[in-house]
């Protein structure tokens, strides 16, 4: 098939003169063209020196100069007994052998792909033997192990690239390896540790603790023998009603047999769950009830506010709704709960002063639900807003010209378009509610909640097996909801479809509806403002509700007890934000722009870190990193790592959204201009994506400053965090200084976010073009 490629008719039909006439190019430049000389850039030789010699050499240096293991928690301590030659183990020396082999292979004149395979092999060999030794002897890794193993992974990256197994350069190949290993070590392995602790007690495999925990009345009290009614009976009646309803619906709609069976099953389960929520007691039904109620209310509120924000006649209303979406970002999740004590508690401004009540009703499921509704409504608003904004007015106009009335319009056009967003908001807030830790801890009262039970099993009853079992339950519930969401909304990708506001104009809201919505929003706003105001006010008065003399005492207390902690928190949050942002962006880049084996794994793993409740991750980290080769607890390092993997998804989303706006041919052009992918990232993508990148960093920082559920497991005496301290003060009843700390936190976060907005506004145009 090979064509006879001869120079046919030199230059086609155009003669040289014609060509020169067509374009005024100096002939001298063509003839004496320096560009025409033999290109010094061209790569002619087949045998190339692999860049892998450098990491391999560094692996050798790290191995020889630094201790391979460590005895205590101190990373930099040099313990002579843990030098490689003092260990007397052949496995350890394999690391050195592998590194030496990698250096030799790098400079050997052999075929590139063979060289790649050999480098991969030696890197993997060294890595396996090093890790194998650490795991087998349960020695905490030392700096020597860290450096040499990291460098051996880099060698593998070079190898995989050279062998063509990953068709990209060494940078991308190494990044893929590192990201995968991070996901395994810091997301999957901790979860595995939780599972392990749930079923392995004192080294013996048993379901005994699972049974104990799940049958404990704290978890589920199905039949309360002290009441006259039969809770289990009532629950089964509800299941029966559900089954009947499902059957009736199926027969009415004349569904096929398989569909009938499915709907029958679903209806029965739903009926059972409703019965459970209404009659049973314990952490499971309580959390379930809470999540369902909060999810439903918050979704309705979110929809109401989204409609108002999009279609209200008043600009002021639309503006203040924008500010609303900032609230959950700047506030630690439990601060509103704590403020609610000021307003609705025993000495509450409203309950006591206004209504003359002295009640503890706030403490219980109602209080928690209230706090969660206030905290999560902005989340639902954000989720639904995009959908409402992308509703196409021309669709409505079209259907109205077809003579549809408002109700038909809503039923046939608006509702089907909104349904996915509503489902998404509902399921997301359910997850948030299940995972929420601070609010139930403060306002929980005499009820039990799954997230707090995990913590109290661990921190109060010192029972890590029970904590693990409860963690697994929480994890399973959240994963079920999460997969429901994926199933329902489709697409396993981070890429969210963002709607562009389209042309045409919406018909204005009916006046009655708008009035109702504005009233609702006003109540909400007044409540939130009162809550935030009460925190600020509470920080300046002597004793809330008893002695309202103004004082700075709480701030003095805070400066003494809280300021160092605050500074430490800010430092840890800042330090963790950088790797969180970089890692998130790298993952976004790899997932969106690179094709490689295991991409789904990386995507799934990073999604997992987003979905898992903080309390579960907290227990998981404690169980995984408290002993053995990966000993990290009681240090700033583990807090930083926890923050990195907790907040990385924010940067991933920012990166994915940013990359979606950049034409891939820019990167391809850079690649064909012979830039490596690291150069392309540095010179093309980072400058173009600087706004979302900085945004990702800031959000990672802010989230770290306000997080509590995971890190409450990880703090130690020298590593206390502001939110944990604040929570402790609230629990101890030191509300004054807690209010002072909360005020400082809120003001700080607010200024950080405002600075970011200022920065983004100036640079907003960049990164969009291309």
């Amino acid at each position: 098939m090979s064509p006879p490629s001869k120079k046919g008719g030199q230059g086609g039909f155009l003669t040289t003169t014609q060509r020169n006439a067509a374009c005024k190019v100096q002939t001298s430049l063509i003839l004496g063209n320096p560009l025409a000389l033999n290109s010094p850039l061209s790569r002619q030789q087949t045998f190339t020196l692999s860049g892998a010699w450098l990491p391999a050499a560094l692996a050798i240096v790290g191995f020889l100069a630094l201790p391979f293991g460590r005895t205590g928690r101190a990373f930099l301590a040099v313990d002579p007994s843990l030098r490689p030659w003092a260990l007397g183990s052949a496995w350890v020396w394999l690391v050195l052998v592998a590194a030496l082999a990698a250096v030799v292979i790098s400079i050997l004149p052999i075929r590139t792909d063979l060289k790649g395979e050999l480098l991969t092999l030696s890197g993997a060999l060294g890595l396996l033997s090093g890790v194998g030794w650490l795991v087998a002897t349960e020695t905490p890794f030392g700096m020597g192990a860290l450096v040499s193993l990291v460098m051996l992974i880099t060698v593998m990256g070079f190898g995989l690239s050279a062998s063509g197994r990953i068709q990209s350069d060494a940078f991308v190949a190494s990044s893929i390896l590192f990201v995968s290993l991070f996901i395994i070590l810091f997301i999957l392995y901790p979860l595995f540790a939780v599972l392990q602790n749930a079923v392995i007690v004192d080294g013996v495999f048993t379901f005994e603790r699972v049974r104990q925990t799940l049958s404990s009345p704290r978890f589920l009290l199905f039949e309360n023998t002290f009441t006259e009614r039969s809770e289990s009976g009532l629950t089964f009646i509800f299941a029966g009603i559900g089954a009947a309803a499902g059957l009736a619906l199926s027969l009415f709609r004349r569904w096929s047999i398989p569909r009938l069976i499915t709907s029958l099953l679903i209806a029965t389960v739903v009926g059972f769950l409703i019965g459970l929520m209404l009659f049973a007691r314990g952490a499971l039904p309580t959390s379930l009830l809470l999540a369902t109620v909060v999810g439903a209310v918050v979704t309705v509120l979110g929809l109401a506010f989204a409609i108002l924000g999009q279609r209200s006649r008043f600009t002021a209303v639309r503006r203040s709704l924008g500010a609303l979406s900032l609230l959950p970002i700047i506030t630690p999740p439990f601060v509103l709960a704590f403020a609610m004590i000021f307003l609705f508690g025993r000495q509450g401004m409203i309950t006591n002063r206004l209504l003359g009540l002295s009640t503890n009703d706030l403490f219980g499921i109602i209080g928690v639900a209230g706090a969660q509704i206030l905290a999560f409504t902005p989340v639902a608003y954000l989720v639904i807003r995009g959908s409402v904004a992308s509703l196409d007015p021309s669709l409505e106009e079209a259907s109205q010209t077809l003579g549809a009335n408002r109700w038909t319009l809503f039923r046939t056009i608006t509702w089907p378009l909104l349904r996915p967003a509503l489902a998404n908001a509902f399921l997301l807030t359910m997850i948030e509610s299940f995972a929420d830790f601070g609010n139930p801890l403060i306002l929980g009262g005499d009820r039990f909640y799954l997230a707090t039970e995990v913590f109290s099993a661990f921190a109060a009853r010192f029972d890590q097996n029970e904590a693990a079992v409860l963690g697994v339950v929480l994890l399973i519930i959240v994963l079920i909801i999460f997969s429901l969401q994926r199933l329902w909304l489709g697409g396993g990708s981070f890429v969210t479809v963002t709607g562009k506001p389209s042309s045409g104009s919406f018909s204005p809201l009916p006046r009655v509806l708008e009035a109702i919505l504005i009233t609702l929003f006003s109540i909400w706003t007044v409540l939130v403002l009162a809550l935030y105001g009460s925190i600020v006010f509470g920080s300046f008065v002597k004793l809330w509700g008893i002695n309202n003399t103004l004082t700075l005492q709480h701030y003095r207390d805070f400066m003494q007890a809280g300021w160092p902690v605050f500074l430490y928190t800010a430092r840890v949050a800042a330090v963790s934000a950088v790797p969180a942002g970089i890692l998130g962006f790298l993952i976004a880049y790899l997932v969106v722009r690179q094709k490689f084996w295991g991409r789904t794994f990386v995507e799934f793993g990073s999604m997992l870190s987003f979905a898992i409740p903080g309390t579960v991750m907290g227990v998981a980290y404690i169980l995984a990193f408290n002993t053995g080769p990966w000993l990290l607890t009681a240090s700033s390092v583990i807090i930083v790592i926890a923050f990195v993997f907790r907040n990385m998804p924010v940067a991933i989303r920012g990166g994915v959204a940013g990359l979606a706006q950049i034409d891939p041919s820019l990167e391809e052009a850079s690649t064909t201009l012979r830039a490596s992918s690291s150069t392309t990232l540095r010179r093309i993508l980072v400058p173009l994506l600087i706004v979302p990148l900085i945004g990702g960093l800031i959000f990672a920082f802010v989230r770290a400053m306000t997080a509590v559920s995971q890190v409450i497991f990880l703090v130690s005496s020298g590593n206390m965090l502001a939110t944990v301290l604040l929570l402790g003060w609230v629990e101890q009843g030191q509300l004054g200084r807690a209010a002072a700390m909360a005020t400082i936190l809120i003001v700080t976060m607010l200024s950080v976010i405002l600075l970011l907005m200022l920065f983004t506004r100036g640079r907003g145009a960049q990164g969009v073009s291309a």
């Binding site: 230059g11 068709q167 041919s665 012979r674």
Partner: protein, 245 residues
């Protein structure tokens, strides 16, 4: 003066998923010093073939040889292939000069050499004096020429052009053709994907007709036979008709 070595494709195939075959077992040899054009209907695998050779797309089967070296698995940035994309793909955050100098900067050439070569390349495409312009302040034709200059400054041995004449004015088209011939005369490999079966076809030395598989290659008489066009375009013979996108 011929310095470039031929590109050889051996049983090259590209499949997307299980069912979609974009490129089917192509065997082809492209020699330096000849101006090639790659023809075929939309979606016939022209761009995919070039992208595989450039390393931007992974071959499902077969081998690619550049200069007798199997580069099938070599990362794109290590291949001596420059590609000019259909969308101009100019870096929006850099001015004209920085765009043209990019490849040289990446290769860490000395400062004065970068400047000299970038300006020369801009002169070749007739854009002297525009080096400090922002790229979005240029017309489409000018942008295409900046892109061309960027590739020229690179001094690659293999040049691929993906539909360089789409949306380009006559002046730019002439300049581009002139440069094509110049490159071919210098012994480079030049392959141009072209939608247009019209007059411009007469400017090329050799034609390659593709419709998933290789249908014909050679000079105009050999390739533009009715039976070949029939196979490529399925019944409709569109010779000398204008078909843009």
């Amino acid at each position: 003066m011929s310095t470039a070595a031929p590109i050889k494709l051996e049983n090259l195939s590209k499949r997307f998923g299980r069912d979609v075959t974009a490129v089917d077992t192509i065997n082809l040899e492209v020699e330096p010093g000849t101006l090639f054009t790659l023809l075929g209907p939309s979606g016939c695998g022209k761009t995919t073939t070039l992208r595989m050779i450039a390393g931007l797309e992974r071959a499902s089967e077969g081998h690619i040889f550049i200069d007798n070296e199997d580069v099938t698995k070599l990362p794109a940035n290590l291949r001596d292939v420059t590609m000019v994309f259909q969308s101009y793909a100019l870096f929006p955050h850099m001015n004209v000069f920085s765009n043209v100098a990019y490849g040289l900067e990446v290769a860490r050439r000395p400062k004065d050499e970068i400047k000299r070569r970038a300006l020369e390349a801009l002169a070749m495409v007739g854009l002297e004096g525009l080096e400090n312009r922002a790229t979005n302040a240029l017309s489409g034709g000018q942008q295409q020429r900046v892109f061309l200059a960027r590739s020229l400054a690179q001094q690659a041995e293999v040049f691929f052009f993906d539909e360089p004449f789409v949306g380009v004015d006559q002046k730019t088209e002439n300049i581009i053709f002139n440069i094509f011939h110049q490159l071919a005369d210098e012994g480079k490999i030049v392959v141009v994907v072209n939608h247009d079966l019209g007059e411009s076809i007469t400017n090329f030395d050799e034609l390659i007709l593709l419709n998933k598989e290789l249908i014909a290659s050679g000079d105009r008489q050999q390739v533009l036979k009715d039976e070949n066009l029939q196979r490529a375009y399925g019944g409709k013979v569109m010779f000398f008709s204008d078909e843009n996108n």
